[in-house]
């Protein structure tokens, strides 16, 4: 007679292959950790050398330039009547926040030497000025004076030029 053989009746200590599983788990953990680090605000590592510091200052200046130029374009667009209040003020706030975060991050990096101190002072001054001028545009926008945003944004032209010049100066 055919009989079903039950697995339980043959208690066999078999070997499980665990290695691939552990590797996969490790890989997964690594990716999740990297994402967690990446998705939270741009992490700023320490700068060990002048070159390192210079590179970080370039990145910060580029972000600031982008914010300044975005605000200029927004102001221009709004003054031309091509955007409405909610769009303009939300976009302005975003750029203001981005610049503030960049400024804070850059200020918190420890400059490695005296040469870096000069760089730090120059850039922080530029970032500070840009922040003030963007805030002025945002204030004007919140008051509903969309038509006069271009006027409020005039000082930003100088900020933009200064940031570009800064970028060129550290290019050399």
């Amino acid at each position: 007679m055919p009989s079903a053989t039950h697995p339980r009746s043959r208690g066999i200590g078999h070997v499980e292959r665990r290695r691939p599983r552990r590797a996969a788990a490790l890989a997964t953990l690594t990716i999740v950790a990297m994402l967690a680090a990446g998705c939270s605000e741009h992490s700023v590592g320490p700068a060990r050398t002048y070159d390192d510091y210079e590179r970080k200052s370039r990145t910060s200046a580029e972000v600031a330039l982008s914010a300044v130029e975005t605000v200029r374009l927004l102001a221009e667009t709004s003054t031309d009547g091509n955007a409405w209040g909610a769009y303009t003020s939300v976009s302005l706030s975003e750029q203001e926040d981005t610049l503030a975060a960049t400024e804070g991050d850059f200020a918190s990096i420890q400059p490695p030497d005296h040469r870096s101190d000069d760089l730090r002072a120059t850039l922080l001054e530029l970032l500070g000025a840009a922040s003030d001028h963007i805030a002025a545009v945002r204030i004007e926008a919140r008051r509903g004076n969309l038509g006069s945003l271009a006027d409020a944004a005039v000082p930003l032209a100088a900020d933009s030029a200064a940031l570009q010049q800064f970028l060129v100066s550290i290019e050399r």
């Binding site: 990716i31 990297m34 982008s66 975005t70 976009s91 750029q95």
Partner: protein, 410 residues
């Protein structure tokens, strides 16, 4: 006549449904940062999705099996499970990005902080998954997504030197300010955005839900062959618009609102309204697709009843997974993670996971016991699909190292 109308509607839906948060972000970012030097990747990506979406649609029509069912059958339970975990995780990132995208687009008209809008958007997404019929859902958001055509209008209004534009796109090089690594990284992002796996999960499951048969094969082919390339053309228009208007001003795109800026600037208030409706529809449609995909992959791996064609009561576990996924994605979005960053990671990781999903499709599309001897892949299709499989594997291998080297593309 009615037939023609149906086909046209299908194509329009495919065009509007092609672009999602990933395409918006990736194309706008690369346009501003790399000019048209990565345009070719969009073309490569769309050919890939055309080839594999057609296969998955054909398989679904001929044997009634959706993609993730076949993933487990062909890869076995272990690799299938690995694929399930990876796909589900990436899908959650995508869902988070889409929900945040909807909330952001609403914040641009209401000036309410998008974080306050996320719970509302999540509820709306769930409600549509729960109550709206599949066809209606696909049509409404697909057609509204066509508003994104305004990007093409934008490019035309800017009035670029067309010869220059095409020649830039045809002669790609790595810009001076960028390294080979960042170039490759953003190339992978664009590729992943065009070929996101949830598109085939959703596409094939939708084909099964709509009860496609042999008769629908022609329509499947037309939708995919015309709809997707035109959708990709929209992606390229987004890229061109930021390349033309934002790149010269040194603006880099790191907010969704900046994607709409070229349109406002060049087309005006009406254009801005249209593009925001388009962004809303594209992200909302994709939020629906990804939340349903979360349910599809789990239910199909485990053999549960699934689908939204009949009452939720007949697929209760499926609906529970969909609901929980939406809640989880909303909670993740509420932690204040940067939506644009989440989008970037979701498309890059999608690219890394692509072979796991596309490989089984290719095998099944060649198996006569599933599609019948007369509907297996032709020689030419197989050659193209094989080339893509090799590309997918290479991309998958390169993704994680590139992610580390470029520190996530910064």
């Amino acid at each position: 006549m009615k037939k023609v109308l149906g086909v046209a509607l299908g194509v329009l839906t495919a065009i509007g449904g092609f672009v999602d948060m990933g395409d918006l972000v990736a194309n706008a970012e690369t346009g501003a940062r790399f000019d048209m030097n990565l345009a070719w990747v969009v073309i490569v990506g769309v050919i890939g999705i055309v080839v594999y979406a057609e296969m998955s649609g054909r398989v679904a029509a001929l044997c009634g099996r959706p993609v993730f069912d076949l993933v487990r059958e062909r890869l076995g339970p272990r690799f299938g499970m690995a694929n399930l975990l990876a796909s589900f995780f990436i899908n959650m990132l995508t869902l988070t990005a889409e929900i945040a995208g909807v909330a952001l687009s609403l914040s641009l008209v209401s000036s309410v902080n998008y974080l306050f809008l996320i719970p509302f958007v999540a509820f709306l997404v769930w409600l549509v998954c729960w109550r709206m019929s599949f066809v209606m859902m696909e049509r409404i958001f697909g057609l509204l997504g066509l508003c994104l055509v305004v990007f093409a209008v934008t490019v035309w209004k800017i009035g670029p030197d067309w010869n220059q534009l095409f020649s830039d796109a045809a002669h790609p090089h790595v810009p001076h300010s960028e390294t080979v690594f960042t170039y490759a990284y953003f190339g992978i992002a664009l590729f992943g955005a065009a070929m996101t796996p949830y598109e085939v999960f959703f596409f094939s499951s939708g084909a099964v839900e709509d009860g496609w048969t042999r008769k629908d094969l022609g329509e499947n082919k037309i939708n995919v062959l015309i709809g997707f390339p035109l959708g990709a053309a929209l992606s390229l228009a987004i890229m061109a618009s930021t390349h033309l208007l934002l790149a010269p001003r040194h603006i880099s795109v790191d907010q969704l609102s900046q994607v709409a800026l070229p349109v406002a600037s060049a087309v005006g208030r009406l254009g801005l309204a249209v593009v925001i409706i388009g962004i809303f529809a594209a992200t909302f449609g994709a939020a629906l697709e990804t939340s349903l995909s979360a349910g599809y992959v789990v239910a199909q791996y485990l053999g549960w009843p699934w689908g939204k064609h009949s009452a939720p009561r007949t697929a209760s576990r499926f609906h529970v997974v969909v609901m929980m996924s939406i809640i989880a994605a909303a909670l993740f979005g509420l932690t204040g993670v940067d939506p644009v960053k989440v989008t970037e990671y979701s498309i890059v990781l999608s690219a890394a996971a692509l072979p796991l999903t596309y490989f089984p499709i290719l095998v099944i599309a060649n198996d006569p016991r599933y599609v019948g001897p007369e509907h297996t892949n032709g020689r030419f299709l197989n050659a193209v699909a094989s080339v893509y499989l090799v590309i997918l594997v290479l991309v998958a291998i390169a993704t994680i190292p590139l992610m580390i080297i470029t520190k996530g593309g910064s």
